[in-house]
């Protein structure tokens, strides 16, 4: 049962093979038995889950079930969940019981979903390895000595270890796609503004975007159908119609034009990953696609531009954590400044502090033009590169990451080495474009991901392309040994 997709589970629920309560109990028992190995959950919401499952079963019995009624999922602990601790994996919010729901949590509740719990992540989503979590690192189910990627590492590990059929994630510079690649699952970062950011604890507001993490592209479409849509409460929400993301999954790929940026296959990239990406492209050619080399000349600049813009926005966003209104407060503050400084100094971990400091520096008097403004100009150059290429091809493909999962501790003392792992994912957030990662092979027993990039609001196309690949290949069906 644990290897079933959301689509398969939905059929099982509707045909009475099992109830939502039975399904939920099975997953809760599995989390309890197995998650010690991975640490993929921060909070398991047993009571809430069983309550939601019982309600879902009543809805199904009454004949009112929708596609998502009774399906269990997990939420990244960045999404505010009413009455449940929402920690963002930080000591700062260890005591924070959210008084409200994120819009996407509301949407899943309304769709009849069951919330199994809240998944581990890098603190405030700042990281590519899930090692900066206040609750300890999360392990990759393919090799528990390795990181699952980050920041949505807990969501990726939980799906990969079959502790939940699917999970939500958020992606500011690759935080859905990179852990999806490293854990061998499917992840989709939608177009900026497609999924509401309301109640998703802010990291870098012009880059943040929530999305689904699943076993298959079909499941990602089913989840995006629930998640996507305009939200008055998010000032940058896209006011556009939401198509049925499952409607075009089965369109043939005959005539699909694929662009391969030469910059994605050069430099410091694992040779096996490059070869497997090329093999995946060959599959698409068999499915009728045509391939041409393209160029995104400013790809390398996405790292410096991102590591100014994201920390600058983070330093501004995280100024709300001041020990006054919610979250951690230091003991016995001597005055207000001491209260601010120690609450923040004691409440944030090292990577969060580093990024706040970089951001505060970049935004400080005299440096704004050299850093923030310059980064925003480069951001436009990166966006224009994509626009040019996407006027010539339907999708862009390449590896999601330059290397497979690395060992826990291997890069944690060198922030810059860690940042380089994001080279293929950051540029999409800067441009605001949608992107997916789907499994396309393994290197030394660790999975690798193929990244598929599309034009603004072309999620339907990405899902169609990914689904057709998954019909033709079995990479997405591979599981870690023993699972």
């Amino acid at each position: 049962m644990f290897d079933k997709t959301l689509a398969e589970l939905a059929i099982g629920l509707k045909t009475g093979q099992f109830s939502s309560v039975e399904l939920t109990q099975a997953y809760l028992a599995r989390i309890k038995a197995e998650d010690d190995k991975y640490n993929s959950f921060i909070t398991v919401t047993d009571e809430l889950a069983l309550e939601q499952a019982a309600k879902a079963d009543a809805t199904i019995a009454a004949g009112d079930a929708g596609t998502f009624t009774g399906l269990p999922i997990a939420h990244k602990d960045i999404f505010c969940t009413q009455g449940v601790r929402t920690s963002c994996a930080s000591k700062m919010l260890d005591n924070f019981i959210s008084p409200y729901n994120a819009t996407i949590v509301d949407k899943f509740n309304q769709a009849g979903a069951v919330t199994l719990g809240k998944t581990n992540m890098d603190e405030f989503a700042m990281g590519s390895s899930n090692e900066s979590s206040f609750y300890g690192p999360c392990s990759n189910p393919w090799n528990t000595d390795c990181v699952p990627g980050g920041s949505s590492g807990g969501s990726a590990a939980a799906v990969s270890a079959q502790l939940t059929p699917a999970a939500t994630g958020s992606d500011t510079g690759g935080s859905i796609r990179q852990p999806a690649a490293l854990c061998g699952i499917t992840g989709l970062k939608p177009t900026y503004g497609r999924v509401s950011r309301y109640g998703m604890i802010a990291f870098a507001s012009s880059l943040d975007q929530g999305g689904p993490m699943t076993k298959t592209a079909e499941d990602a479409a089913i989840m995006l159908n629930v998640m996507a849509g305009f939200d008055q409460r998010d000032s940058t929400s896209a006011d556009r119609d939401v198509p049925d993301y499952t409607a075009e999954l089965n369109k043939p790929l005959e005539g699909l034009r694929i662009g391969l940026p030469k910059e994605f296959f050069s430099g410091d990239i694992n040779a096996d990953i490059a070869a497997q990406t090329q093999a995946a492209i060959k599959e698409f050619e068999k499915l009728g696609a045509t391939v041409k080399e393209v160029s995104l000349p400013n790809t390398a600049l996405s790292i410096p531009a991102y590591y100014i813009i994201a920390p600058a926005e983070a330093s501004s966003n995280l100024s709300r954590f001041d020990g006054v209104r919610y979250g951690y407060r230091c003991e016995n503050p001597t005055d207000l400044e001491d209260l601010y400084k120690r609450s923040r100094g004691e409440g944030f971990g090292p990577e969060v502090k580093r990024r706040i400091l970089v951001g505060a520096y970049a935004l400080s008097e005299g440096f704004y033009d050299a850093y923030y403004n310059k980064a925003q100009q480069i951001r436009r150059l990166i966006r224009d590169d994509f626009s040019k290429v996407l006027s010539e091809v339907d999708v862009i493909m390449g590896p999601t990451t330059p290397h497979p999962a690395f060992k826990i501790g291997e890069k944690s003392s060198d922030p810059v080495a860690m940042y380089m792992e994001d080279v293929f994912t950051l540029s999409l957030n800067l441009a605001g474009l949608p992107g997916m990662s789907i499994p396309c092979g393994t290197v030394d027993g660790l999975p690798t991901g193929l990244q598929i990039i599309g034009d603004y609001f072309a999620e339907q196309k990405l899902l169609n392309v990914a689904h057709q690949f998954q019909l033709a290949t079995d990479w997405h069906k591979q599981s870690p040994q023993g699972i």
Binding site: P99, L339, K341, G345, V358, S364, Y371
Partner: protein
């Protein structure tokens, strides 16, 4: 670009962030490395390139000035560290 202890102290003060004495040299080193990385940007000619703040160049959406939220003060203050009579308590600011 190399930052020293004094720079780190100054930035940490701007960010109202306490940095432990023994951690300061490592932060100075980390931040210098990060600034070296981002300095690659300075080699790029961006004359006449408009800075891009929003991926879709969208502008702020406006709405009519109506009350749309209920008053939820008690609920929202239920997670505050210290509250009295609907007010957030902090150390004495005015003597």
């Amino acid at each position: 670009m190399s930052l020293d202890r004094t720079d780190v102290d100054k930035i940490a003060h701007l960010a109202r962030l306490q940095i432990e004495e023994q951690d300061a040299p490592e932060y100075a080193q980390n931040l210098s490395n990060i600034l070296d990385l981002v300095d690659q940007m300075q080699a790029v000619d961006t004359t006449d390139v408009l800075p891009m703040a929003h991926p879709l160049d969208a502008v702020q959406r406006l709405r009519s000035d109506n009350v749309t939220e209920d008053n939820q003060r008690e609920l929202l203050q239920s997670v505050a560290p210290a509250v009295e009579n609907g007010l957030f308590l902090v150390p004495k600011v005015i003597e």
